[in-house]
Subunit: 171 residues, 2 copies
DNA sequence: CTACCAGATGCAATAATATTTCATCTGGTA
DNA sequence: TACCAGATGAAATATTATTGCATCTGGTAG
């Protein structure tokens, strides 16, 4: 998609500016990890990102991917997604949006809904908590899982992507 | 708290009934794990639950705690909490409620808000997703972290509870 | 009360995910 | 081109989670 592409370019420039501000180098690895996360519309694990990135930067190490992801979160370029399951998940979409969470296969699907976006932030003064953003998690069962009531993990979606991957290659 | 106590008793009876329905035995381990999760008002990791449970059932294994937690989630007695960070978290509160998520220390605080509870479920017919429940995640910075801008992990709360524990004993 | 068995448990091994250490390399600059 | 702060890669280690199997237990029938 072209608007998607140009948005990624904009984000990259924003990232480079942030690095310059802090005197930190913009490396091939950092650029590639960021591009990769922004280029996905799901909520990949660190390992899924590694798989994508290693195809573009031969020899990049898993360690670096973990480190860069952590850095990008601190910079606010991406977020950690709240996700059932044990692995950390990342989300390149920092716009306000919401999540459909399948209780059967743990899949998380993005949802854009203006009414939810317009939600007024509740008053949490008594808890002394400063709210900056809000997302709604909608729990239920996705089409896949409803169709095959007997489905057990692991599950793949219609594109063949593994939704709850279990194995990875050697380090 | 007494109402809390009796609610836990009720949940235990509900669990026993579920087991009987399915011909599954109600073991000391299962009862204790369930009691322990229900008795907490935070979102413990499997290991935190293990620590609590082992004090009451000497010799219980970590493996069993993992297995029981998984079973309780399948039975709907507890839920997996969406939580930033790498470890699976559990939530004994199955009533509709919402979460304040601190972006600094990853702490998750429960929030009850009638206006949020009353949210109408959005129409997701076009996505073929069947919604059964909804929770709102409110992102921000908790009082602790706002007070000590220099705080770095690990962090403990005012009660001394470790919010992002790092170590555990031998297996 | 005892025997019985499906299923649960504990233990040890293993897998999967994540972090640390440190020698080496690179981006950015003079 | 040389320099250096900081990034990277590799290996070791730590942490979290699962699996296989021998043994034990809850629930029940006799």
């Amino acid at each position: 998609m072209n608007s998607q592409q140009s948005s990624i370019q904009g984000q990259l420039r924003r990232f480079e500016a942030l690095c310059r501000d802090q005197g930190l180098p913009v490396t091939v690895q950092r650029r590639t990890v960021l591009e990769t996360v922004l280029g996905r519309d799901d909520h990949p694990t660190a390992d899924q990102i590694y798989e994508d990135v290693v195809a573009r930067v031969a020899g990049i190490s898993r360690t670096t991917v973990y480190r860069v992801l952590d850095m990008l979160v601190r910079f606010g370029m991406i977020t950690k997604a709240c996700h059932p399951g044990a692995m950390a998940r990342f989300d390149g979409n920092t716009e306000r949006h919401h999540h459909l969470v399948c209780l059967r296969c743990d899949r998380v699907i993005d949802l854009v809904d203006e009414r939810l976006d317009a939600l007024e932030l509740p008053d949490t003064g008594h808890l002394d908590f400063e709210i900056t953003d809000l997302r709604v998690q909608l729990y239920g069962v996705c089409a896949n899982c409803r169709n095959e009531a007997t489905a057990s993990k692991p599950v793949t979606d219609e594109t063949g992507a593994v939704l709850n991957p279990k194995k990875r290659e050697k380090n």
